[in-house]
């Protein structure tokens, strides 16, 4: 089974953290994985400080490096040429889609998107104002070309507690029921391991996240 997954969501929803953790979990199973930083708004920042560290863990990371971007302007919006072909790469392909006004249209830039089995997964945090309840989330998801799965990543950073995770699961599960889109997982920080178990109270699988993005710029 070859996984092609794209993680989309609001600023600070946890897209990158989810993408990195997913990619590394596949590496742990000894498989070939490419992690793509597909961000056209400020493409030189997101994964940049982590690139070397992630490559050392065995990931193939497709992202700009500072020295490659000399002369391209302050935050220059340019697609790294090899990103166009990422769906053709061997092994699993995990794409971290940067937030953008037209973030969902970005898939048209990927060669073979139409016929690919790319799964678009929406990362949702109910602590974010525009995705804080069922109606808002449904409205938000309408902006995408399509969404194949939902991830409840509701959190308040260091102030996260079980309440917010549970409320998030309630809301995301309700969205799932209404739209007929499955909940792929509830994702939580590792410190909840041992408290949460393997499934949340709605029976959604729980995935534990190790924090990498704290060391990134944004």
């Amino acid at each position: 089974m070859r996984y092609l997954e794209a993680y989309v969501g609001e600023y600070a929803s946890g897209k990158s953290e989810n993408a990195i953790n997913r990619a590394l979990s596949l590496i742990d199973q000894g498989q070939q994985v490419s992690l793509i930083d597909l961000d056209l708004v400020e493409p030189f920042y997101t994964l940049r400080p982590l690139k070397k560290e992630l490559e050392a863990l065995g990931l193939e990371v497709v992202a700009w490096e500072t020295r490659e971007t000399m002369g391209l302007g302050e935050a220059g919006s340019i697609l790294k040429p090899e990103m166009r072909w990422v769906l053709k790469r061997p092994g699993h392909v995990i794409i971290d889609v940067g937030y953008g006004v037209s973030g969902s249209d970005i898939f048209n830039l990927l060669e073979g998107f139409e016929e690919s089995q790319l799964k678009i997964l929406a990362v949702l945090n109910i602590a974010r104002p525009m995705t804080s309840d069922t109606e808002e989330i449904i409205h938000y998801l309408e902006g995408f070309i399509r969404v194949d799965g939902l991830i409840n990543n509701s959190h308040l950073g260091a102030d996260t507690d079980l309440d917010i995770i549970r409320q998030g699961s309630d809301i995301v599960t309700e969205v799932s029921r209404r739209l007929g889109i499955p909940v792929v997982a509830t994702t939580v920080d590792e410190r909840f391991r041992g408290i949460m178990g393997e499934k949340d109270h709605h029976g959604n699988p729980v995935r534990y996240l190790k924090r990498y993005m704290e060391r990134a710029f944004w």
Binding site: Y11, A12, V41, E42, Y45, E74, A75, V101, N125, A127, R128, P129, M130, S132, H155, L156, G157, A158, D159, F217, W218
Partner: protein, 363 residues
């Protein structure tokens, strides 16, 4: 008209730029004028998403000069207008803001500081202190709130609108690239729900009635051709500014009474300063802390009182002495034991390096 922008007080998790956009909505801002520049772009992005839902407007201008002048125009027309910029954009804002100082036009500008000089790095620095405090021609009649957390970004953006409209001086929120982009929790609220009354804007131009018949003509001036005329116009404004200063000046001081050394910082660097103070206090080192929240007007008297207790200072900032200039001016003529500095232009400051630095100095 749209419903209440924030239904109920609640904890949220956002980037600083988004916080500013929400705060502007909560404060009842009517229109944002702006020109894109990193690291403030998402204030505009987010405002344009929120604006249609709440009956607000947005105009993207051709550059920051125009963004500045249109912001003044909005205020003259009786709209709560604001803008956001950074770096070279702040440079271009100086001309419209000088005009606002002279014409007493209430404007709110959020500056997310980036590195300089020139276009330079886009990420972070504290190098726009000179520009926001005294950057224009004239006398620096501005109010500058330097924030340190997302909660403060929210609180002070709301406050800035009231300060601007009450005193009619240009009012800045001074953030930086880190505050713009980092994420942390905060509580959002409608100011009215907390008993904060938001001042209603009034138009200066386009008033009803016939000038000279129903009402006096409105004569707004920015230009004074004769020296004495300028003198007569500026002195009352200076008086107003001094009177206002006592009412708006804000600062934070901690553990200064028994301190052997006091860290001075502003903005996001204060987070490292507080953490360093707490760690060193645990080890028995008597560290105090002083932070100006308004950089303009500066809490001169408050700092002088602190210096009378302890004047062994470590001043730290992500710039080459821009905060230090304001501090030295406040301490002029006071006996000072020691004035150590840590200048890191464009670079963040950690609690660890402050702890190390102080441990070395104390021994």
């Amino acid at each position: 008209m749209a419903e209440k922008p924030i239904q109920e007080e609640k904890r949220v998790f956002m980037t600083g730029n988004e916080v500013v956009a929400w705060a502007a909505v909560a404060a009842g801002a009517d229109i944002m004028y702006g020109y894109p520049i990193t690291p403030q772009n998402e204030i505009m992005h987010y405002w344009t998403r929120l604006a249609p839902k709440h009956g607000k407007k947005f105009l993207q201008t051709e550059d920051e000069l125009s963004a500045g002048f249109t912001t003044l125009g909005g205020a003259l027309a009786g709209r709560k207008s604001f803008s956001a910029t950074a770096g070279p954009g702040t440079t271009l804002f100086q001309e419209p803001l000088s005009m606002a100082e002279m014409m007493r036009i209430p404007v709110v500008v959020i500056v997310q500081q980036r590195g300089g000089p020139s276009t330079a790095t886009v990420i972070y620095s504290q190098q726009e202190v000179n520009m926001v405090t005294f950057g224009g021609n004239g006398e620096g009649w501005r109010v500058v709130y330097s924030t340190a957390t997302h909660q403060e970004l929210f609180d002070y953006t709301i406050k800035a609108f009231n300060t601007a409209w009450k005193y009619r001086f240009p009012t800045f929120i001074l953030g930086d690239g880190y505050q713009a982009k980092m994420r942390e929790p905060l509580v959002m609220y409608n100011p009215e729900d907390r008993g904060i009354e938001m001042i209603k804007p009034v138009a200066s131009l386009g008033l009803p009635g016939t000038p000279g018949k129903d009402r006096d003509a409105v004569h707004l001036r920015n230009t004074y051709s004769v020296e004495e005329e300028l003198y007569d116009a500026t002195m009352p404004i200076q008086e107003d500014y001094e009177k206002m200063s006592k009412e708006v000046v804000e600062w934070d001081e901690r553990n200064v009474d028994d301190a052997d050394i006091i860290i001075i910082s502003h903005g996001v660097v204060s987070r490292a300063a507080i953490a360093a103070m707490n760690r060193l206090r645990e080890k028995g080192v008597k560290v105090g802390y002083f932070r100006p929240i308004t950089l303009r007007p500066f809490p001169d008297e408050q700092l002088q009182k602190v210096a009378a207790k302890c004047s062994n200072f470590l001043l730290v900032e992500s710039a080459l002495g821009q905060l230090a200039r304001l501090v030295k001016s406040a301490l002029f003529n006071m006996p000072i034991d020691n004035f150590d500095t840590l200048y890191k232009p464009g670079v963040g400051v950690t609690a660890e390096e402050l702890v190390q630095r102080i441990e070395k100095t104390i021994k």
